[in-house]
Symmetry: C2
Subunit: 242 residues, 2 copies
């Protein structure tokens, strides 16, 4: 048993290994598959090649580097992100946030890739930039304030969700959970009264006190409040300028 250690023809699920007929699209979609099924740790040129039944170096014919592959993956995952144009600006931005979160929820292991090393490749939809700017103009922003509002929206969209779905590397052995539960069990209620009073409803449902990420423990309430508060704040700022 164990692993087949010989170089025998090993057939694989989905598209077979055998005689190779790759393309840029196949490489990218296989990469996303691996990302979804096996996580970020297993995401790499060599594992993608293995899944496709080819040598690692075959990948380089279709994709110039790991970095470029990541950029492609991000582009595919975030395709069709922009909400319909006819929505009022506040609803449009809310929809943008929700749609972004839906995309990440489908491919949560991509969150660190997008969030932390956002490759600003030009392919990232001019439609997203245009749409956001147009809606913020509609809201009354212009000049420097428009730039600021744009950055607040894009940064705000990516930021929260990236945290929510940040990987917490399985934790099968409870090495993440146990210290949290222990420290909660031993809270000094005189020094940390608010924490003590709310510990039960915070545990595994709040940043810094969770051992699962958004996949198994979504922060729906936090996301809603966050998005609505940010948009309401933008609206107030816009009103003040007019």
């Amino acid at each position: 048993m164990a692993k087949a250690s010989r170089p025998s023809k090993k057939r694989r699920a989905g598209r077979g290994a055998s005689s190779a007929n790759l393309s840029r699209e196949i490489v990218v979609s296989t990469a996303i598959d691996i990302l979804d099924r096996e996580g970020l740790d297993s995401f790499g040129i060599r594992s993608i090649a293995k899944a496709l039944g080819v040598f690692p170096t075959a990948i380089y014919w279709h994709v110039p580097s790991r970095h470029a592959l990541i950029a492609e993956v991000i582009t595919v995952i975030l395709a069709d992100l922009v909400p319909p144009r006819d929505l009022p600006w506040e609803e449009w931005i809310k929809a943008l946030f929700v749609r972004y979160r839906e995309r990440i929820r489908k491919h949560p292991n991509a969150a660190p890739l997008i969030g932390a090393q956002l490759v600003s490749n030009a392919s990232v939809d001019a439609a997203l930039i245009e749409g956001t700017l147009a809606k913020l103009c509609e809201a009354g922003f212009s000049g420097e304030a428009l730039v600021a509002a744009y950055n607040a929206v894009i940064g705000g969209m990516v930021g929260f969700v990236t945290q929510e779905f940040a990987l917490v590397s399985s934790d099968k052995d409870g090495s993440l959970r146990d210290p949290i539960l222990r420290s909660i069990a031993t809270i000094d209620a005189s020094r940390h009264p608010s924490l003590a009073a709310n510990a039960a409803q915070l545990v595994n449902r709040a940043y810094l006190l969770r051992w699962e990420n958004g996949v198994s423990a979504a922060l729906d309430g936090g996301f809603e409040l966050y998005a609505d508060a940010l948009i309401a704040g933008l609206a107030a700022t816009a009103r003040r300028r007019n």
Copy 2:
């Protein structure tokens, strides 16, 4: 010339290589040094060992794993984050955001580590959790809404800044800059009018259109607007509940 390939005693800057006298603190502070000076790519067990003039495996006596080392680094960088307790809640949260950004600005290469794989080690200051909860109670939040508001604040604090200082890997050859400039130069003003009208003030100063990160191209306006809008929105939500 080239590199000294013999196992001769090589002395190094700062604390010498020689006869080793490590500690957990020295390992962690050296790790931060390397992170700051040489970037995230050069951040690893082996490079830290090299800087200290010891074998890679010597590190493992003081730190159990790379993951745990990262957790230590984060803890040091975010030490003393919590603002003074006497501030009104809105100012307190603003101060928290500003202080967090200052910490990251000093160690920008740590942003991806914190943002994307926030290791929720219990050592992350109960003071931060307690302070945030206390101020949000002060604002009028309780129960489920308190949990949501807490997550909005923490997620909001980490999220924007992580994006702002996300690494854009040097770009000495202009491979990031050039495509952006090219796509801006060829905007179809009929399809993307808002983008065309504001291109000049957006270039390298806005998400998706920049090739430098917050270190050389800070998004001050965006951060201010973002933080103020979020806090104003929280205040409005709190008022509605009372």
